[in-house]
């Protein structure tokens, strides 16, 4: 009882943070169909600034830290990235009316990491003076890439299996339809088609999924590039003056604007989410917290094993709870083209991210304070 009341009090306090306020403000503004819009250039620049700063701080920190400490958390991050996709594969994908590729792609996006959620987590921690390993932000790619790779590989295996099955069935049908002249002809009016030659493309190619191109594609995305660039600059040069006078002081403020955008975006994507099966909404509501809890547990193991700080444990849980909103979607659009982007982007942006930020962050902080404050 004491545990619970303590927890709820702390949880409640979090709800007043400006970070959350801007997120919810954005959701409401968009819901009232305001014409307020933050220009795309500003949005991209803010994301760049935030991730560069996380990278710079991480790089500076790594210079002075014992890298061995990072090993266990990094391994757990990788594990989480892969695990999340398999969870989606064996839960979401099994639900009625859910296309398997859509479910896998959704798992990939929820396994991947959101820079804005990570930045929000860091800001809230700093607002509460909770210490964390400054290199914790560098766990991002360790979870992000494995999640995207796993999703794309799983989807490719699944679709190539499917195709084999269909091909057999199809070759018969083709035989029949050939007499009719045109392969695809529905009704009198419909005499042109979108793709013209369905399924011909993949017919006789042996497509083994290549993993390296997927990793490269991820690393080349704008979000990871900014983070890794920051890491490298922090590690190899002496950027402290510019970090302390520019990137650091602007961080919190830029984040508040990003939260506003994410909130507006969440509302805007809700419509898209409505067009797909409602199971996506349920998944998007539950998955962030579930993933966060698992990662929190893994983090606690690292806490007791190698002294991973409570702040670090919280951040690990936060990035696990987060779902990618910037870098993930285009990678998945290219990697699993047959998946419906409305399903995964809707689920992630409209529900996953708000849940991770608004519920996840305060939840994991409250939990850490109760469980590790000794």
């Amino acid at each position: 009882m004491d545990f619970l009341s303590d927890f709820f009090m702390r949880f409640g306090a979090q709800l007043q943070s400006p970070t959350l306020g801007f997120l919810i403000g954005g959701m409401i503004v968009a819901a009232l169909s305001s014409r307020l819009a933050i220009p795309d250039a500003i949005y991209k620049f803010i994301v760049f600034m935030l991730l560069l700063k996380v990278g710079l701080k991480g790089g500076i920190a790594i210079r002075e830290s014992n890298l061995a400490e990072m090993l266990l958390p990094a391994a757990f991050a990788m594990l989480m990235g892969i695990l999340v996709v398999f969870i989606a594969r064996y839960t979401l994908a099994k639900l009625p009316k859910i296309k398997v590729v859509d479910a896998i792609a959704t798992g990939g996006l929820f396994g991947a990491v959101s820079g804005s959620t990570l930045a929000a987590g860091i800001t809230v921690l700093e607002g509460q003076n909770i210490a964390y390993e400054p290199w914790a932000g560098a766990l991002y790619p360790f979870m992000d890439i494995p999640a995207l790779v796993t999703a794309i590989v799983l989807a490719s295996i699944y679709t190539s299996k499917q195709r084999d099955t269909t091909d057999e069935a199809f070759s018969k049908q083709e035989y029949l339809s050939k007499k009719g002249g045109t392969l695809v002809k529905y009704g009198g009016q419909q005499d042109i088609t979108a793709s013209g030659y369905p399924s011909e493309q993949g017919s006789n190619t042996d497509e083994r999924v290549k993993i390296w191109p997927i990793i490269k594609e991820s690393l080349q995305g704008s979000a990871l590039s900014a983070l890794l660039l920051g890491l490298a600059l922090g590690l190899l040069t002496r950027p402290e003056p510019v970090v302390d006078t520019f990137y650091e002081p602007l961080f919190k403020g830029l984040l508040s604007i990003l939260m506003l955008i994410m909130g507006m975006e969440a509302t805007a994507r809700l419509g898209e989410l409505r067009k797909v099966a409602q199971w996506y909404a349920l998944y998007a509501l539950v998955a962030p917290l579930l993933h966060g809890f698992i990662a929190f547990g893994l983090g606690m193991i690292a806490h007791y094993a190698t002294g991973f700080t409570p702040g670090g444990v919280i951040l690990l849980a936060v990035i696990a709870a987060s779902s990618s909103d910037i870098s993930g979607p285009p990678t998945l659009r290219g990697g699993i083209p047959s998946a419906n982007p409305s399903a995964y982007i809707g689920a992630s942006t409209a529900i996953g991210t708000p849940v991770a930020i608004a519920i996840g962050i305060p939840l994991f902080i409250g939990l850490a304070q109760v469980l590790m404050s000794s």
Partner: protein
């Protein structure tokens, strides 16, 4: 002194730009022009994960002039076969007369 030409127009998702540019090159067209576009079609998903709040225009419109209608149709067929199962897109052809060009 003009030259009859076919103008192929493809409106599709921005993520495909590089891949379609390659198809155009390989088909032997001498060039293409591309503009950012928005739109609405059968799928009104605009993909690509860009925040629609801040940017609604994530289609592109490609225009390819070819001397030879067959090349235009070929490009269109290749693009449609490769991408239109999974991506939004429309392709159509118009007639044009090229008046001046560096290479056509």
């Amino acid at each position: 002194m003009t030259q009859k030409a076919s103008k192929l127009v493809i409106v599709t998702e921005k993520v495909l730009l590089k891949k379609i540019a390659k198809i155009i090159d390989e088909a032997g067209a001498t060039g293409y022009t591309v503009v950012d576009a928005g739109g609405k079609g059968s799928r009104n998903v605009r993909s690509s994960g860009q925040p629609s709040v801040s940017d609604n225009f994530s289609n592109i419109k490609l225009e390819i002039l070819t001397r030879n209608r067959d090349i235009a149709v070929k490009i269109s067929d290749l693009v449609a076969a490769q991408f239109f199962d999974d991506y939004s897109g429309i392709a159509y052809i118009c007639e044009a007369e090229v008046l001046h060009a560096h290479k056509f």
